[in-house]
């Protein structure tokens, strides 16, 4: 069975946690990475951080000045890499379509 796709905020939060970051820094990083295209609000962010931590996809590495700093775990990395592979496959499919493969489809076996 195909794994469930990550939503956009899930994807970008995991991506940002390849380096240790706290909540506000995650939001700022995503905004910078995507040139403001993707915005993650605090409500969305902290709900996802809670569920990631519960599922073992991220881990808390420090707690200082009311800021919790997280980083991605091996399990989280695996899920992220699976998602990246999935997106790459989707991109390949898009390229095939743009390259014009209708004839190939019609003449298949």
């Amino acid at each position: 069975m195909a794994k469930k796709a990550l939503t956009q905020p899930m994807y970008y939060i995991l991506l940002s946690l390849k380096e240790a970051r706290h909540g506000y820094e995650i939001m700022q990083y995503i905004d910078w990475l995507t040139d403001g295209r993707v915005v993650v609000g605090p409500g969305t962010l902290y709900s996802l951080l809670s569920s990631f931590e519960e599922d073992g996809w991220i881990e808390l590495i420090s707690r200082k000045d009311n800021k919790k700093t997280y980083t991605i775990t091996d399990k989280g990395n695996k899920n992220l890499e699976d998602e990246i592979s999935r997106l790459e496959e989707m991109l390949e499919d898009a390229k095939k379509v743009e390259g014009g493969n209708e004839d190939e489809f019609q003449n298949r076996g």
Binding site: P42, Y46, S47, S50, S51, N66, K68
Partner: protein
């Protein structure tokens, strides 16, 4: 009227019956905005339905309510975690106002820019679904329990007589019918909300929230909160004025349980320990609270009995009670319990202890009207009929099994001749039981007792119930067919 006095008399707060939950909070955001324009800022929400506002300058504010799970059965966000969330929300333009259950309320000036607190519809629905499913689980468990207790309570209040003296039940009873309907309605409402929006999210649509006015919820919760005041007063009156030790003993485990729960919620739930540790902590807390409650209740049960005697002499003066001292005997000590309820505003039970295990019991009740007093008499009569068989169950069973009459059965009015006549009949056992019950409760001489109703409640005539108008006396422990006992009793009880 002087201006300063006028200003002092202006209310700086406003209370409103409303309702907020995860299915309708966007409409509450709009409502807060309207209220802010009129000069009222939400300050506190009690049980999701009592909204308390404070006076402010009329302001053009925007509100944002976001679901953010704070507490589950075993975990709770720490103060630091909540503060971090608030700090980050502030950095994107939102000021924290308050939270109610799992909904956090923020506001900002309408013309100030800010990033939305929730920026992804699918993630927002996941959080709402998680919270909604938790609420449904609670409803699935609590609703049948609530239905069962409601049926017992309402049946006891209207059909039976067991709850006539239970003030707490009588005070809460008006909310019961609403509560039953509300519990069932909430289950269907939440299921529909989650199902429809699961479909919406799948199809890439926005979440649809409820536009219901939630009138039933507003009425029920407001009524419940309002009734908590007379309920608290009832307990305080019974404990401190009537010095009802039973109420104290009942209150002890409740208070200990509440303290245990608060400590668990404050220290264990938000801690960094594992979920397994927290579950173990919960079990440990439950066990500790149960043991401590039992021990304290046991100790208090003895101690309160002894200290209550200090008040007895002063309390006894205006009470119509029987004691061994009235019957040319010596009373060792007495136990007095006073109680009050809306239907029976004055009631007390006095047990006079003689030598050995002898006791004389006086139970006095004054109903708010004759109908209540009549129901109390019926209660005693019913108990008289029901209690006779269990007390002599072994003797009856032995008699039928061995086909041999046991002489103790004379005490409940079953003679040897009657036993022999009935024992071999097809439904002999049932006939004997019916005979014994009928002999247990029978009319006493109402004229002799100067009463509207009088019934002996056992064959030996050592239990009697007497009604004079709204007053009911239940007496136990002397031979109330003895003319001398009758006269003394009538004099003492002013019958």
């Amino acid at each position: 009227m002087p201006r300063k006095l006028k200003e002092a008399m202006k209310m700086n707060f406003k209370i409103e019956a409303n309702y907020i939950n995860i299915t309708n909070y966007p409409s509450i955001e709009e409502h807060f905005q309207e209220m802010a324009k009129e000069g009222w800022m939400i300050k506190r929400i009690i049980m999701g339905s009592l909204f308390i506002y404070e006076k402010i300058e009329p302001s053009d504010l925007e509100f944002s309510i976001t679901p953010y799970e704070v507490e589950t059965a075993f975990t709770r966000k720490s103060k630091e975690e909540l503060e971090e969330f608030q700090t980050v929300s502030k950095s994107v333009g939102w000021d924290y106002v308050l939270k109610t259950f799992n909904l956090h309320i923020y506001c900002k000036e309408a013309d100030q820019p800010a990033i939305d607190l929730q920026t992804d519809e699918e993630e927002k629905f996941k959080t709402l679904e998680f919270i909604g499913k938790k609420q449904l689980k609670s409803l699935y468990i609590l609703t049948p329990i609530f239905l069962f207790f409601s049926w017992s309570i309402l049946g006891g209040l209207f059909g039976g007589t067991g709850l006539l003296k239970r003030g707490s039940v009588q005070i809460i009873s008006p909310v019961i019918p609403f509560g039953i309907i509300l519990s069932i309605k909430n289950i269907f409402h939440m299921r529909k909300f989650l199902k429809e929006n699961r479909e919406n999210i799948k199809l890439g649509r926005d979440i649809e929230f409820s536009s219901s006015k939630f009138r039933l919820e507003k009425v029920t919760l407001s009524l419940f909160l309002f009734l908590l005041i007379p309920l608290a007063l009832h307990y305080l009156y019974n404990i401190f004025v009537l010095r009802n030790k039973i109420m104290v003993i009942i209150a002890i485990p409740i208070i200990i349980g509440a303290i245990g729960g608060l400590l668990y919620r404050r220290f264990v739930k938000p801690s960094n320990k594992s979920l397994g540790y927290k579950k173990f902590g919960f079990v440990l807390m439950l066990a500790s609270v149960s043991i401590v409650s039992l021990l304290v209740s046991q100790f208090s049960g003895l101690d309160v009995t002894k200290t209550a005697r200090v008040y007895l002499e002063a309390d006894k003066e205006d009470l119509r009670i029987l004691s061994f001292n009235d019957f040319h005997s010596d009373e060792e000590f007495g136990d007095l319990i006073k109680e009050a309820s809306p239907l029976v505003p004055k009631a007390y039970t006095y047990i006079s202890h003689g030598s050995g295990k002898e006791r004389i019991e006086t139970e006095y009740s004054k109903g708010i009207n004759i109908s209540i007093a009549e129901r109390l008499v019926k209660k005693h009569k019913r108990e008289g009929r029901e209690n006779v068989l269990p007390s002599y169950h072994q003797e009856l069973e032995y008699s039928f099994e061995k086909d041999e009459y046991v002489s103790q059965l004379e005490l409940i009015g079953l003679s040897k001749e009657e036993f022999i006549e009935l024992k071999d009949k097809p439904d002999g056992e049932e006939k004997v039981e019916e005979l014994v019950k009928n002999k247990a409760v029978f009319k006493a001489d109402e004229e002799l007792w100067n009463s509207d109703e009088a019934y002996f409640l056992n064959y030996r005539e050592t239990k009697i119930v007497i009604r004079q108008g709204e007053e009911v006396f239940y007496l136990k422990g002397k031979d109330f067919s003895d003319p001398e006992i009758v006269e003394i009793t009538k004099t003492i009880l002013e019958l």
